[in-house]
């Protein structure tokens, strides 16, 4: 019975294929981006005889990966959103803490300085009180300087992260292009018989790319994955990849802006186009939060110096000389650099102009006005130093809260999208264990068919021997 042996052999091969596929699934249960595979079977073309069609066993049609374009797309866009809000959240967090911190924020230093001014108003002739006011001015200055240092460090870190994100993006783009090339070589039978594992790898790279920046992708008829950023600028086109580049900003060379290197030259990408993923978050944090905080704190530093000096110059010092600048004049310094430049200009306690125009050691008229600046609405007549600072703290707090909330929401969206994909593509070890048993039994049964066919053949041979 050759038909029986052939059918048994095909069944043995089929069961073997099932076992290989199951083992492959088990081995890749923890591989990121892996889609479980299933061997597909079909019965062989039957043999026609006078009494009808006799089956010819089984054939393996294909090894299919359980994959759904739509589910994967959902995971990708959820990951882009989640990575954006999570990166933004982590970037704002240090500022959130810095501004409100009793020891690091501006509030306490500003209050302490004005206590010093009040002390001079209470004891205008006291050299220790005057010295204390200068020292408290120095500590206000060092608080401004320290905040500036921290903000600058934060800016440097952000620039560094932008650069490293760009490097990663380029790495992923290159590898996707390489995989495109590899797929073209591998899928010689055309896209209908897919190189499952290579495609999974490419999908995983696209996912990791999507965590960094918002991308869109399109698979062409040859199975090439083309990747676009921004408003359709191509990052990967078939087997070639373009690269992102960080170029120094014309106005502020320390600031990196993103450009895409193409054959036609560098194309600068506006930040509004890169509004997702890690890179989008870093760019957004830099322009929406960091710039504003640095400029507004600098503005406070400038205004403290300007308004205090202006009043101080109206007074007379202990020697009866006209008052000079108490703080260093920041009129010509930009808001960005004002905190670093903030310093006390006076060193001689006698030079504090506590008296008004009529002079005298006990004259505290000017010191009273100086102390009053603490509650004066010096900012356009609407806000004090303190309330301006409080507004800034609220802004950062609100922004931080906002991205925390969206990070949480995006995280659960990502979880849901991943669950949906996993429920189709993920490996369940229990299921694989069951399959293992199933294919093992199929293998045993096929082997039994073959051994029976051998026995039957022996029967025929034994007739001849008799």
């Amino acid at each position: 019975m050759p038909g029986m042996l052939g059918a048994g052999l095909s069944a043995l091969n089929a069961a073997n294929a099932g076992l290989i596929t199951t083992s492959h699934n088990i081995s890749n249960a923890n591989t990121a981006g892996y889609s479980r595979q299933t061997a597909l079977y079909a019965s062989n073309f039957p043999q026609l005889s006078g009494s009808g069609f006799f089956g010819q066993g089984v054939q393996i049609q294909n090894v299919r990966r359980e994959y759904d374009q739509f589910l994967n797309q959902n995971v990708l866009s959820a990951a882009t959103r989640h990575q954006y809000s999570a990166t933004y959240r982590d970037a704002v967090a240090p500022l959130d803490n810095l501004l409100s911190d009793e020891n690091a924020g501006l509030s306490s230093a500003l209050a302490a300085f004005f206590r010093g001014v009040n002390d001079v108003a209470n004891n205008p002739a006291s050299i220790p009180a005057r010295q204390a006011m200068i020292s408290l001015g120095d500590s206000l200055a060092s608080r401004f300087n320290a905040m500036d240092t921290q903000l600058r460090e934060l800016r440097e870190q952000t620039e560094g992260q932008i650069a490293s994100s760009v490097a990663l993006i380029n790495g992923y783009a290159t590898r996707i292009a390489e995989l495109n090339a590899q797929l073209m070589r591998s899928e010689t039978a055309g896209p209908s018989i897919q190189a499952n594992d290579l495609r999974d790898q490419r999908e995983q790279l696209l996912y990791e790319l999507g965590e960094l920046v918002n991308v869109s992708s399109q698979e062409d008829a040859q199975g090439m994955l083309n990747v676009f950023v921004g408003s359709g600028q191509s990052l990967v086109l078939g087997t070639s990849a373009n690269a992102f580049k960080v170029v120094p900003d014309g106005v502020d060379p320390a600031r990196g802006i993103i450009a895409l290197q193409t054959r036609a030259g560098d194309v600068t990408l506006p930040e509004s186009l890169l509004n997702g993923g890690r890179l989008g978050a870093l760019l957004g944090f830099r322009s929406e939060v960091l710039d504003r905080v640095q400029n507004e704190l600098g503005g406070i530093a400038k205004e403290v110096s300007r308004s205090f000096n202006e009043q101080h110059r109206l007074g007379l010092d202990l020697q009866g000389n006209a008052g000079g600048d108490f703080f260093r004049d920041l009129g010509a310094v930009s808001a960005r650099d004002a905190m670093a430049a903030f310093a006390v200009a006076l060193t001689d306690p006698q030079a504090i102009a506590a008296a008004d125009g009529s002079g005298g050691a006990g004259n505290n008229e000017n010191a009273l006005v100086l102390a009053g600046l603490q509650t004066e609405k010096v900012f356009g007549g609407t806000a004090t130093f303190q309330s301006t600072y409080a507004q800034l703290v609220t802004f950062v707090g609100n922004k931080s809260r906002e991205v925390q909330v969206s990070a949480r929401a995006h995280e659960s969206q990502l979880q849901q999208a991943k669950s949906a994909r996993e429920s189709l593509s993920g490996v369940n070890l229990d299921e694989e264990a069951a399959n293992l048993i199933r294919f093992q039994q199929a293998y045993q049964a096929a082997a039994r068919v073959m051994s029976l066919s051998g026995t039957l053949f022996d029967e025929v041979l034994s007739i001849a021997r008799r």
Binding site: D96, N118, G360, A361, N364, S400, E422, G426, D430
Partner: protein, 308 residues
């Protein structure tokens, strides 16, 4: 729904992480007693807290200034009290000198006493505070407002005795948001300047007593009314100082009240409700333990356990 193995592990891990994060946050709240650990926990309340603690600080500054004002006014009040007593005593000596039976020797003795009183009054007018600053010198607190001595005032400079060397500056302190309180008194207001005031009147009396031509009716009469006028000046100033001290008491009471209110507002904005915090802590602990146990149970299940 089909569940993949990595999803099973992943979801359990996520759950534990989320619970741990919340648990840790509650733990921090309990440890610090604060509901708001950073502005993003409640941006509105955090900003309000910043404003309130600023107002609290400013209010505290006013209280401190009130303390300075009180010290300064008390010192002035003390000097004025002594000066009033001294003037009253001089007046009684003037009455005594008006006794027509007194001999010149007795008048000279009174004059000698008055010379001492004159120097004592100068001492009072030149009173310094703890920092060594003159109390009655206006803004020129580093120079003696009433320099000189009795001998030269009476003998070498018969027309112009002790003159005021200070100025008319009145030191003010910010004792509340809307009140700058005067705490100094220029000395000329109380003790007069060259040619007028209590020093001049005492000098005239001493010169007359020692002249040998003392007119008991006219000279004593002049001296008595002069001392009455001087006493009037001192008492008026004292009354004014007294009313400012009363005002300070009221302000102190008010700022104490504000301080309490600010503290209450701050506490309401920032502080943790411990009953709520502890019950949340316990609840989160239970949830975390449940998440851990279910993770171990669920991930421990595998069909492979039965394949032997």
């Amino acid at each position: 729904m089909r569940v993949s193995t990595s999803m099973l592990f992943g979801m359990g891990r996520e759950a534990i992480q989320r619970q741990s994060a919340e648990f840790a946050n509650t733990q921090l709240q309990l440890a610090s007693g604060k509901r708001i650990l950073k502005p993003s926990d409640d941006p509105v309340a955090a900003a309000r807290a910043l404003e309130v603690s600023h107002s609290k600080g400013v209010n505290l500054q006013y209280r401190e200034n009130q303390g300075y004002a009180q010290d300064a006014l008390r010192r002035v009040d003390g000097v004025l009290a002594s000066a009033s007593e001294l003037i009253t005593y001089v007046r009684s000596r003037a009455v005594e000198a008006g006794n027509p039976t007194y001999t010149q020797a007795e008048r000279t003795a009174i004059a000698a006493d008055l010379r001492a009183q004159y120097e004592q009054l100068r001492g009072l007018a030149n009173t310094r505070d703890a920092e060594g600053n003159y109390l009655f010198a206006g803004f020129g607190i580093d120079a003696e407002p009433f320099p000189g001595d009795i001998a030269s005032d009476v003998a070498t400079n018969p027309t112009g005795p002790t003159s005021y060397a200070g100025d008319g500056g009145i030191r003010r302190l910010q004792v509340s948001a809307s009140r700058e309180m005067p705490v100094g008194t220029p000395g000329d207001r109380i003790f007069g300047t060259a040619g007028a005031g209590v020093f001049e009147d005492m000098r005239t009396l001493i010169v007359r007593l020692e002249s040998g031509t003392y007119d008991t009716a006219v000279d004593s009469g002049n001296a008595i009314s002069a001392m009455d006028a001087a006493l009037d000046v001192a008492l008026t100033e004292r009354a004014s100082v007294g009313s400012r001290l009363v005002e300070l008491d009221a302000l102190d009471y008010a700022s104490g009240d504000y301080d309490l209110q600010y503290a209450e507002t701050l506490s309401r904005l920032q502080d943790l409700d411990y009953a709520e915090g502890i019950s949340r802590f316990t609840q989160q602990q239970t949830l975390l333990e449940a998440a851990q146990q279910s993770y171990v149970r669920v991930t421990g299940l595998s069909l492979f356990n039965f394949l032997r």
